[in-house]
């Protein structure tokens, strides 16, 4: 039997391959890495759900997802950029993420689109990303009102990211603010109030110490190393 969902899923890949890199993007911590699911993470497992109702907006779930796919990065809060391939958000496509503050090395990571249909799409991240596990972006109709949702089942990928996640004002708070801000921007786009409902549940308080070794892939550390090596790479390119 073939699933009705077959066209919506990406095919499995052993390691990620970045085909095209925009000139202004930092491509690090993605190519050659494996993806990491929630089972491969280190920290506590969280089920997070962020929702906003587009009250008063005459827009269908399909239209919301179409626009969101087309302009995904435009709805992100300031401070991070996502570079998507020309094909956009489609199963198997890889996006690069660059984030940072002025004066600090660009934090570089990425996402793999694992699923995309007309009312939802999902990402999974490479090893070294702050968290492991799927994130799903969706829209649905609730009694004539379109509701937009971000849902994740994620763990911090290694002990360093877990430490950041549990510190006040950083880590998990930044991650949560990212989706609250994104949904707020989406709501504003359709003239709705940015009243984002947040539901966060810890599914597993335990840490998976067998995954502590993930720290070797930590994208923060590798981004700093990548930044230090940038002048040398520039010299090498001139010599070539």
């Amino acid at each position: 039997m073939t699933g009705r969902d077959e066209a919506y899923w990406a095919k499995p890949v052993r390691t990620l391959t970045v085909r095209t890199v925009p000139a202004d993007a930092v491509n690090a911590n993605v190519a050659g890495r494996r993806v990491a699911g929630a089972a491969q993470g280190f920290g506590q497992l969280w089920h997070k759900r962020f929702r906003v109702r587009l009250d008063g907006a005459r827009v269908s779930p399909q239209e919301v997802i179409r626009v969101w796919k087309d302009r995904f990065g435009d709805f992100w809060p300031k401070g991070a950029r996502v570079f998507l391939p020309a094909a956009g958000i489609a199963p198997g496509e890889i996006g690069l993420i660059n984030a940072g503050v002025p004066g600090a090395p660009t934090f570089a990571t990425g996402i793999l689109v694992i699923y995309a249909d007309d009312v939802s799409f999902s990402f999974i991240s490479p090893e070294g990303h702050p968290f492991t596990g799927p994130i799903t972006f969706s829209a649905f109709d609730d009694d004539g009102t379109t509701v937009v949702e971000v849902e994740e089942f994620t763990r911090a990928s290694d002990p360093l990211w877990e430490l950041l996640m549990i510190l006040p004002f950083v880590g998990g708070k930044i991650q949560n603010a990212q989706w609250v801000g994104t949904l707020g921007n989406l709501a504003a786009h359709w003239g709705a109030a940015a009243d984002v409902e947040t539901r966060i549940v810890c599914l597993d308080r335990g840490r998976q110490w067998s995954q502590a070794k993930n720290v070797w892939h930590n994208a923060g550390i590798h981004s700093a190393i990548h930044a230090i090596g940038a002048p040398l790479r520039r010299v090498a390119r001139r010599v070539d």
Binding site: M1, T2, W9, V35, G37, A39, V119, I124, T136, L203
Partner: protein, 116 residues
């Protein structure tokens, strides 16, 4: 996204609780899956086995639910196994690396045997 129609049956064979999953597994399947898992994992069994032979549709919300079942099984010191996955769904398990945490078998007999 389709309208979710999840049908679940629960059986017990030896030390294993079996969940026969028919239809769709999406985020909307959560109450039905949670109830069936509670029944399948009760009574001191050693493994919960998911039968996907009649699975017709699964989206990424469904993958999230499988992660929650895995956590519940681990918490109860039970093994979570699966069988009846066609090539497409095996690939989804591989893509999301769930195949490294949920033991996949070719048949019910093999899954039940591993639970002993």
């Amino acid at each position: 996204m389709s309208n979710t129609t999840t049908a679940l049956g629960v059986r017990r064979i030896g030390d294993a609780g079996l969940m026969d999953i028919r239809g769709d597994v999406t985020a909307q399947s959560e109450p039905a899956l949670a109830e069936a898992f509670a029944e399948a994992s009760s009574g001191g069994i050693r493994a919960v086995i998911l039968n996907f032979s009649a699975l017709d549709y699964m989206n990424s919300g469904g993958i999230g639910l499988l992660v929650t079942l895995l956590v519940r099984a681990n918490r109860q010191k039970q093994r979570l196994c699966a069988y009846g996955l066609n090539e497409h769904y095996r690939q989804i398990f591989e893509l999301t690396r769930l195949d490294e945490a949920i033991a996949i078998f070719d048949s019910e007999q093999a899954a039940v045997g591993a639970a002993r």
